[in-house]
Amino acid sequence: MAETLEIRWHGRGGQGTVTAAKVFADACLSGGRYVQAFPEYGPERSGAPLRAYNRVSSKELRMHCPVLKPNIVVVVDATLLDGIDVTEGALDDAIFIINSSKDPRELREKLKAKPTQKVFTVDATKIAIDCFGRPMPNSPMVGALAKVSGTVSLDVILEDVKKSFGKKFSQKIIDGNLEAVKRGYEEVREG
């Protein structure tokens, strides 16, 4: 892992993207790391494209502005790829993680990713439906990000998801989400 990892999330309002960034930040706290998670602030409207950001670092994070040169770009909704340039500012060795049932190679072409950049996909929506019956891809995406970034182990991320769901949700929903994180972690693949 680079000294400071900067992540940019692309999603739509109502998909839980901001929550995903928060859960990920929480999980990264272990090992004395510094973390940040914040959305691009604006009126949050269901369905509207939005961005959220993470920074994870072994040293104090002082930067308080959006991530402009992400190491990792997470695309929670592949339909965004048609309207938004998710590669903007991405570093030459950036990693893209996209929620899609398609072959990563196909998306690599669509993104016009540089040879030095890596493209991963995970069918997060399908996993979510399988696991808890709702098309909320954030849990599997957190799992996939944990795996690809190498920042957190599966155990830690599962523990954290469990904690963040707290008492607000039924055991069934929590178990479903844990399964979804696990499958996201296991099923993300590179192309």
Binding site: K22, L29, V35, Q36, A37, Y41, L61, R62, H64
Partner: protein, 393 residues
Amino acid sequence: MGKVVAVTGNEAVAEALRQVNPDVCAAYPITPQTDMMQRFAVFANNGKVKTEMILVESEHSAMSACVGASAAGGRVVTATSSQGLALMWEILFIASGSRLPIVMPVVNRALSAPLNIHGDHSDAMGARDCGWIQLWSENAQEAYDNAIQAFRIAEHMDIRLPVMVCLDGFIISHSIERIEYLDDELVKNFVGEYKQLNPLLDVEHPVSYGPLILPDYYMEFRRAQAEVMTKVADVVLDVAKDFEKISGRKYGLFETYRLDDAEIGLVILNSAAGTSKDVIDEFRSKGIKAGILKPRLYRPFPYKEIGEVLKHLKAVCVLDRADAFGASYGPLFMDIASSIYPYKDKPILINKIYGLGGRDYLPEHAELVLNELVEIAKTGKVKTFKEYIGVRE
């Protein structure tokens, strides 16, 4: 070491307020403060604090109720932002003039019109001379730490003045950051028991608050209040010393970053100071002697102390996240200019207005300003003393 968590600035300050456990809290919603008081209300309604909530019908009544509750004889908090602070304006002066130690987090936000809910410093800057102490915070950790220290400062028997704890709207209030919480017991002991002074509820010793003071005495009361302000800095430093003992975190009247041997410097408040520090490191690695001064105690402003640390620089840019319409310069600039005014040899000062209404302050902005300062330091020539940055032409 206390508990390490990843939380928003609002959450962190709400946690500080829970640990302080005030007697009364007045709350009224306004973005981006709302979820701080919301979180506190959850503590109150779940019996996690002894605090009685007053869910007022406006910020004006929030501050009015705080004045009543504080005069009654107990520890009082409220929080606000922007228009809410503006609506309180009248009563802010009454709180300080009556010497009531109310603590109020202010989640900084722009003022209307046009309507904007995002972070800038126009609200607190507008209230800077209302007799309140102001502590400013770069990040969630500082906001949490300042909130706890604020009670000790406000309630100090030599001071008895209200304190605002400023943090940037959204950038800090709504962003999740790693912070370290202190243990409940430590905070409780640190702030200590509330000490009453002329409590209204002491019916055996009736007092009258809020007399009409005619010209024969008004100036004497104002002069006395001005005198209290001169004692604040020492108390802030004493409280910081005690706070360091329980937290390991050091606070002063302001923070200097690589400023000692610097030739050029930035003066900047709150969250943008952090972003600037990373850029300063880049310039230092290129051999450019740059540093930062970040005020913490903004009111009363430590003119002398700040003048001392800035006087040796060649060129300084003061970055203001608020404009002072019709004045030549932004509010922070005017204070910095006053600080270095007494010195014969002093840096050239320029002023940039940035980040209004939530406009991002990016590293490139700091770079731009630092490059300009390098040039000014070299040539002694200034093109523009004040200008907006990050604005479209």
